[in-house]
Amino acid sequence: MVFRMGSGSMTRMDLIQGTLDVLVLRTLAGGALHGYAIARTIKGLSDDVLQVEEGALYPALHRLQGRGWVESEWGRSESNRRAKFYSLTPAGQAALEDQARSWDRYSEAVGRVLADAPRGNG
């Protein structure tokens, strides 16, 4: 499992699963959102760097729902369309705090590796 870099630039990142989960949870911490709004929010919050693919988002949402971290309800969106709204459960809230901590550890670890390792294809 590796990061795929956008071709030569850092403008877009495909998100790996564990990271996507934590981002979705974080996004829902602000209140209930439907799937499209979640994707839009993540993109907006990350200054267009993080691009969520639908092919990853919905499995992630359904997975989180399966774990009991989010729950869903059909409702009306801001554009008055029928949409399925997801919201955090208390378990999801706890998971978010836990995952946020391990994300910190992770980014620190990756940072240290990158700082330490020789550059190039050693």
Binding site: P59, R81, R82, Y106, G122
Partner: protein, 886 residues
């Protein structure tokens, strides 16, 4: 509407069942997503149709994604109905299975190791349990003892009828005492005549054992009065099935045994064959007679101790009665008696001891297999530490990770145990065939559920523990270190433990090999024992001429007639007969003295074995007459008894073979009859191979006609089948009423005598072989792993100009350090352990230098090869390849 699995079970159930409803739900959700995207794009000024096309393209394959989501939702629903853990485990198991298939070499070695280790130890435990550990099939067997008399020379001896009755009446520490004996007779009706074993026992015998007849009743006291046995009989199961078709109304029918009629009163229960030493076809009352000759020793005696009585107390009680007997009766003078747990008498202390040795070896083997598997798992774990580190930082929880590793290790354990059980199931029948009839209760062995459970538990715990080792690194070390170091640091830490495990394995295989080597030496010596005769090309068959059918004056001429006809059979070169079937384990015993130096007291007489033989027997068994002559037809006792003795007795009594000829010996006691020595033959060892050849007196059947005689025929090579048929025909022609005997080869008798030592040896040597293989696998695996892990270092050294040979030497030297340590530890461990074999060894010291040296050489050579083969790979490393690989 809330749609949260794990909440309302009804909702979850609906979710589980309503596949179409779920699919529609997902489809609508995707549609809503696209609609929102279209709205946004239209708001950016793109026309509706183009916006729709672009939104759909961005979303990707809706059908595939829908199916994936549907599967996910359905499995969530399934888990929420209570089987969440189960489907998690199933997923882990599938993952484990993929992991195992990905490394077939590793899986194969672990599987084979566990198969051998678990299979062999379960099979052996099952055997030992059936033969040794299972209690005797009688009620409260711990209270049962066997009582035997001791001759003035302190040899164990059977009991006379009056002595048995004394004990029954006078012993205070027993609840009851029973006596039994058996002999071969001929059943004449119903059906064709056939040889049957008729047992005799007193009334109360079955009750003492806590057994009940399968059918009918046992003997009433009135049917067991002295000298008046009632003509009633209990049938053995086989005879009941064979002659009465297992008829439930057999009670009241009659049997004709050698012309005497018996009324069937019941059918015997199982378990008596152990006590009689053979299957009993018919049991009749003993009717022990207090007035019978006390010199007639032929009974086996069992007693049940009163509750709470110790063996010592019972022995003292028995001593008291035996002392009274010795003081009161002339025939019992100098004799004593002893008792021991019935189990020891029936199973034999040899067998019990061998059972424990085998059990220890089996445990050692299972231990080695577990060591090996944990070593392999540990080695693999270190290479996986970086993978696990990565998964941890990517958000995998510790618990699911641990569970997954547990399931993977347990899968290995279960797989190996399953292989082991099928191996054990294959091996067990072979083991049983190998043991033959000489090992009591071996036929009753079956795969023992307790052994299976214990083996499974041990294996799963060991593999589980070893499989979990990499997660320890995850907890204690920062994940980053695991990532950065490619697991190298962690590997260095685990190395010491793995080296220790290999050393322990080498030590264990040293102990196994030493045990095997010693048993092998002992076995070779035992099979080279000079029996005094050559059994090849020799046939035997048994004639049974019971008192009831043949007057004793008729037997001599009948045997002579059979011999006369038998000698005319084509292929028969020499024919004779003896009362004691060689290697049947049966012996007649008495005492003799030199008539010219007659001791005053019977207890100073020389104990001997004796045989009743016909002229021609010595030649048939290739026993050379070293002085004097063989018997002739003239030695019929009318002008005084004549005997032939063996060299050993001639030496002891008369100072040598030639000096013995023409001298007289006195039979039994100072008032006994006198017998003239007319010949001396070579010593004969035909009771137990491991016993010294006895002092033997041969008497002729014409002076003492015996009820049961064994013909021994030496036949021309290749003519055995023809000669066997001819001999049977000769018996039928000479004595139409006699059961026609089966013909056996004497070699089979000798093989049977070797059966138990061969059995022990083969089992233990297969253990040692498996153990050595395990140690080799462990050592070479360790070296191979070490070489792989240090490829980089090797590459650097070689690029700096190091010689490949010196690198190989360095590797081998390091591994050999481990092997030598294991070897020394094994020898140190073996010094006390081989003492356990002492009682099983025949003319072999447990510290025999040759065997020890050989074991050291074998272990040294195999471990060197095991270390050298993988190390050689290191020398073939291409430095450039290695350095660019990392």
């Amino acid at each position: 509407m809330t749609d949260r699995p794990g909440g309302d079970p009804q909702e979850a159930l609906r979710g589980l069942l309503g596949r179409r409803r779920l699919a529609r739900d997902i489809e609508e959700e995707f549609e809503a997503h696209i609609a929102h995207r279209v709205d946004d794009l239209v708001a950016e000024g793109i026309d509706a149709a183009e916006a729709r096309r672009r939104a759909e393209a961005e979303f990707g394959d809706r059908t595939r994604l829908g199916r994936a989501s549907l599967a996910q939702r359905r499995s969530d629903a399934a888990r929420s109905t209570g089987s969440r853990l189960w489907s998690g485990l199933a997923r882990d198991a599938r993952w484990a299975w993929r992991q195992l298939r990905r490394s077939p070499g590793f899986t194969g070695i672990v599987g084979a190791t566990l198969m051998l280790g678990v299979g062999a130890s379960v099979a052996i435990f099952s055997v030992v349990r059936a033969v040794v550990l299972d209690p005797l099939p009688y009620d409260r067997p711990d209270d049962l003892v066997s009582i035997r008399m001791l001759t003035p020379a302190a040899d164990l001896f059977s009991t006379s009828e009056p002595a048995f009755l004394d004990w029954r009446e006078r012993l205070e520490t027993t609840v009851d005492v029973a006596a039994l004996a058996s002999r071969t007779e001929t059943l004449r009706a119903p059906g064709e005549p056939r040889a049957v074993v008729r047992g005799h026992a007193n009334a109360g015998f079955l009750e003492l054992l806590g057994l009940e007849p399968r059918l009918g009743r046992s003997f009433a006291p009135a049917e067991d009065r002295p000298r008046e046995p009632a003509p009633v009989a209990l049938l053995g199961r086989d005879l009941w099935v064979e002659r009465f078709g297992a008829d439930g109304s057999v009670v009241g029918r009659t049997l004709d045994i050698d012309g005497r009629s018996f009324e069937v009163i019941g059918v015997l229960p199982e378990g008596l064959d152990l006590l009689f030493g053979r299957d009993v076809d018919v049991l009749t009352p003993l009717a022990a007679d207090p007035g019978m000759d006390r010199g007639e020793h032929y009974l086996d005696v069992v007693a049940r101790l009163a509750p709470g009585v110790t063996l010592d107390r019972a022995r003292n009680d028995l001593q008291r009665v035996a002392a009274w007997q010795s003081a009161t009766f002339e025939e019992d003078r100098g004799w004593s008696a002893t008792l021991e747990p019935l189990e020891e008498t029936l199973l034999g202390t040899q067998t019990i001891r061998a059972g424990w040795v085998l059990l220890a070896a089996a445990a050692l083997l299972l231990f080695m297999a577990c060591l090996n598997v944990s070593n392999l798992l540990l080695a693999r774990a270190t290479t996986r530490q970086s993978e696990i580190g990565l998964r941890t930082v990517l958000g995998a929880g510790r618990w699911p990770l641990i569970r997954q590793l547990c399931v993977e290790s347990a899968a290995i354990g279960v797989l190996g145990t399953a292989l082991g059980l099928s191996f054990a199931a294959t091996v067990l029948p072979l083991v049983q065939r190998l043991g033959g009839e000489r090992i009591p209760r071996l036929d009753q062995a079956s795969l023992d559920p307790a052994a299976v459970a214990v083996a499974l538990l041990v294996v799963v715990v060991v593999t589980g523990a070893a499989g979990l080792a990499p997660t320890l690194g995850v907890r204690s070390g920062a994940p980053a270190r695991a990532l950065r170091g490619s697991g190298r640091n962690a590997m260095a830490r685990g190395g010491g433990l793995r080296r220790a495990l290999v050393a322990v394995q080498v030590a264990a295989s040293v102990v196994l090999l030493l045990g095997t080597g010693l048993l092998f030496r002992s076995f070779v010596r035992l099979s080279q024992v000079d029996t005094g005769f050559d059994p090849s090309g020799t046939l035997t068959l048994t004639l049974s001429m019971p008192d009831a059918a043949y007057d004793w004056t008729e037997r001599g001429p009948l045997v002579e007639e059979i011999l006369r006809r038998g000698r005319e059979v084509p292929g028969v070169e020499v024919l004779g007969a003896t009362a004691v079937d060689p290697f049947s384990g049966y012996a007649l015993a008495n005492f003799v003295a030199d008539a010219e130096r007659l001791p005053d007291r019977a207890e100073e007489f020389t104990p001997i074995q004796w045989r009743v033989v016909t002229p021609g027997l010595f030649e048939a068994m290739s026993l050379a007459v070293v002085a004097g002559r063989d018997f002739t037809a003239g030695d019929d006792g009318r002008d005084g008894m004549r005997v032939v003795i063996d060299e050993r007795l001639a030496e002891d009594l008369f100072g040598g073979p030639t000096d013995a000829i023409g001298r007289d010996l006195v039979w039994g006691d100072p008032d006994g009859s006198r017998m003239r020595v007319v010949g001396v033959v070579e010593p004969l060892r035909d009771v137990e191979l491991s016993q010294l050849p006895g002092r033997i007196v041969y008497r002729t059947h014409l002076s003492i006609p015996w009820a049961s005689m064994h013909l021994v025929a030496r036949v021309a090579p290749g003519s055995e089948p023809r000669a066997a048929a001819g001999l049977r025909e000769a018996v039928r022609a000479a004595a139409p009423g006699l059961a026609v005997p089966e013909v056996r080869s004497l070699e089979a008798n000798v093989r049977r005598a070797l059966a138990e030592p061969r059995f022990n040896l083969l089992l233990l040597s297969s253990f040692a072989a498996v153990g050595l293989v395990l140690a080799i696998v462990g050592l070479s695996g360790l070296t191979a792993f070490e070489v792989r892990r240090r490829f980089r270092e090797i590459g650097i050294r070689m690029s700096l100009g190091a010689e490949p040979e010196s690198l190989v030497r360095a590797f081998v030297a390091r591994r050999l350090g481990v092997a030598v340590f294991g070897l020394v530890a094994g020898l140190a461990l073996a010094i006390p352990s081989v003492r356990a074999l002492d009682a099983l060894l025949f003319e072999t010291s447990s510290y025999e230098p040759l065997t020890w040296a050989l074991v050291v050489a074998i272990v040294g050579a195999t471990t060197t090869v095991a270390a050298w083969l993988p190390a050689r790979r290191a020398a073939r490393v291409d430095p450039r390849e290695v350095l660019s690989a990392e």
